[in-house]
């Protein structure tokens, strides 16, 4: 554990912003979001859980992965791999946990997802511990916690007498801390002020057994709008779609980009197949899939649960769909 002062922390952040892309929580028109910052002055150090997770910096909402240039019979293919180095400062432990969930599919399967892998290898995660659990948070129930360093490279904890305690977790974390000027420690890491009540997490078999209980899922899902908020704010949702777009056609040369963009299983057209059939035609069937994926399919297929308890989907749902309410109802059955 190292200790430093506010000024020295900011100097270190300014240094990081010179060396790599520095991503940090920042205020954007009244919203707290992870954004690229030019200097430490833009970085929020007292903030709640940012409204969107940090996944967009490793699994971008939209990414060109291939460029194609066709000139007569000649076709040139160019794979586009991300090469930027980035430091994600201020991520919450749940954000890092979410990336560990995505790793199970995108990194630890054969073959890995090359685009995600490139981002991942070029990213350092410097987390800042939460001083309390916010509205909707239930990370503790799902294997995480407000001060959990497990999936981070460095954990930062504000001190009781000012300053910050920094705990390197991985060799990457040790390396990134080399530029930090430390100070004589004062006080201790601030304790977590408030924990939310625990939420029961039922085993995958229990979820699976409920699949056919249509009334149960209708009751929870009939008010769902089939928008994509919950999946897009989620640090662990990772569905995407691919398309080719023509960017230029002139004097015999056609240039095409292959794009991958986020997709969402809650969306009405997500499961539509050729010919127009949709095996998940209703909102509650789609919502059931989202929950089954998180607590049944994903853990059974890839290991970790597809939920980290960050609570973002709960606070951002405009019709009060509450994953913890469903979890409690499943556990009670």
């Amino acid at each position: 554990m190292r200790f430093t002062t506010l000024d020295r922390l900011k100097a270190w952040l300014d240094h990081l912003a010179q060396e790599a892309d520095l991503i940090a929580p920042r205020e954007v028109d009244g919203h707290v979001l992870y954004r690229r910052v030019a200097s430490a002055d833009e970085v929020l150090l007292e903030y709640e859980r940012p409204e969107l997770s940090a996944k967009e910096f490793l699994f971008p909402a939209t990414e060109v992965i291939l460029r194609v240039e066709q000139k007569g019979k000649d076709v040139a293919l160019e794979e586009v791999l991300p090469e930027r180095q980035q430091v994600l400062f201020g991520v919450r432990p749940c954000d890092a946990h979410g990336l560990a969930v995505i790793d199970a599919l995108f990194l630890h399967q054969d073959p890995p997802d090359r685009y995600y892998q490139h981002h991942r290898e070029r990213t350092v995660l410097v987390g800042v511990a939460c001083e309390r659990m916010w509205e909707g948070c239930f990370c503790v129930s799902i294997g995480g916690g407000p001060t959990d360093a497990t999936h981070l490279d460095v954990l930062v904890r504000p001190g009781t007498e000012g300053g910050f305690f920094l705990q390197p977790v991985t060799p990457k974390g040790v390396a990134v801390l080399e530029g930090l000027e430390v100070a004589e420690p004062r006080g201790e890491p601030r304790p977590v002020e408030e924990y939310n009540p625990p939420v029961p997490v039922a085993a995958s078999e229990k979820w699976r057994a409920l699949f056919e209980e249509h009334r149960f899922w209708m009751r929870h899902g009939e008010r769902c709008l089939s928008c994509r908020i919950c999946t897009y704010v989620c640090p662990a949702c990772r569905c995407f779609d691919l398309t080719d777009r023509v960017v230029d056609v002139r004097s015999g040369v056609t240039r095409i980009e292959r794009l991958r963009a986020w997709d969402a299983c809650t969306s009405p057209n997500y499961r539509r197949v050729a010919g127009g059939h949709n095996p998940r035609p209703t909102n509650w069937e789609r919502l059931r899939n989202r929950f089954m994926c998180k607590f049944c399919y994903y853990p059974d297929d890839f290991g970790p649960r597809g939920c980290v308890g960050c609570g973002r989907c709960i606070v951002s749902c405009p019709v009060d769909i509450d994953i913890t309410e469903v979890m409690q109802d499943v556990a009670r059955r």
Binding site: V28, D29, G30, H31, L33, E51, L52, A61, T62, E222, R223, L225, S226, C227, R228, I229, Y232, V233, D241, T243, R245, L259, A261, W262, D263, A264, S267, N269, T282, N283, I314, S316, P318, V319, D320, D322, E325
Partner: protein, 289 residues
């Protein structure tokens, strides 16, 4: 009993009656969730009638859920009959759906609520209520509550002033900044009673206009396109703005068009059961239309 308690009691009795007499298969109203938040509720059993609540937290426009009730539950059956609780702004969306032949009038039992405004997420009166001139729904089968004697103030369009004060370059910069925050979650479209195309023009796999990328150009085209598709059809319920997780001031886009359409055609969407004149009325050469 306070007015709210009386209204809630009357609402529950009405729902109980409709379900027990089998006048409808489902009552769409509001309930309180475990976190104390008010949310849409779908009742099928008269014993559930006491779940219903009424109050200034009943913000959702439930008319949008009628689109989920257009098909029969089982093949060969009739589509379900439903009762829906509406505020005055919500009720105007009913007229749109009736005029556009989306829902048959006789399949819907409309529980109209006299409304003195709902609240926003901050607990203060919602912006739309400050300019609303209606206290009773424009269409209903039963009306609950007594209309207040005080006339509401007329709509002065003051919400558009900040946009109009900008130069066109400032306005472009303002909207690009807003669209930059958009995450293309489509919540604005999904919640809108007027957005019911089976495949949205902006989500087609073979769309000529916009691909699936979540970048500013696609978001720009989507939001402006959606606003135009709602010209003369938007009932100003502001649900798009309420549900937006990124706080885009979408009502400004819609309201600009509402005012244009009213000035050109004397048409305010949903006041009567009528189609938008934007697509169906052509003026003589040289006329402003």
């Amino acid at each position: 009993m306070s007015d709210i308690e009386t209204l809630t009691h009357q609402l529950r009795e009405e729902a109980r009656r409709l379900l027990s007499e089998k006048r409808v298969d489902c009552v769409m109203g509001y309930e309180v969730g475990p976190r104390g938040r008010i949310r849409p509720a779908f009742l099928y059993d008269p014993a559930e009638a006491d779940h219903l609540v009424w109050g200034p937290g009943c913000v959702h426009n439930l008319v949008t859920y009628l689109h989920n009730k257009k098909k029969p539950r089982r093949r060969g059956e009739e589509p379900p009959r439903v009762a829906v609780v509406v505020k005055p702004c919500d009720s105007r969306a009913l007229n749109i759906l009736f005029a556009e032949r989306q829902v048959e009038r006789e399949r819907v039992f409309v529980i109209g609520m006299v409304c003195e405004g709902v609240v926003g997420p901050d607990g203060r009166p919602a912006a739309k209520c400050g300019r609303c001139t209606d206290r009773t729904p424009v269409v209903y089968d039963v009306l609950l509550g007594n209309p207040p004697s005080v006339e509401p103030a007329p709509d002065d369009w003051s919400d558009l002033a900040r946009i109009e004060a900008m130069t066109s370059a400032e306005r472009l910069a303002f909207w690009l900044r807003q669209f930059d925050r958009c995450i293309r979650c489509y919540a604005c479209r999904q919640v809108c009673p007027g957005c019911y195309c089976p495949t949205c023009a902006f989500e087609r796999d073979d769309s000529l206009w916009v691909d699936m990328g979540i970048e500013v150009p696609q978001k720009y085209v989507f939001h402006l396109g959606r606003a135009f598709h709602l010209a003369g059809r938007c009932v100003e319920c502001d649900e798009c703005e309420r549900v937006c997780p990124m706080g885009l001031p979408l009502s400004l886009l819609n309201r600009c068009l509402v005012r244009e359409i009213e000035a050109l055609y004397g048409h305010r969407a949903g006041r009567q059961e009528a189609l938008t004149p934007m697509l169906f009325e052509l003026g003589p050469e040289g006329s402003p239309i």
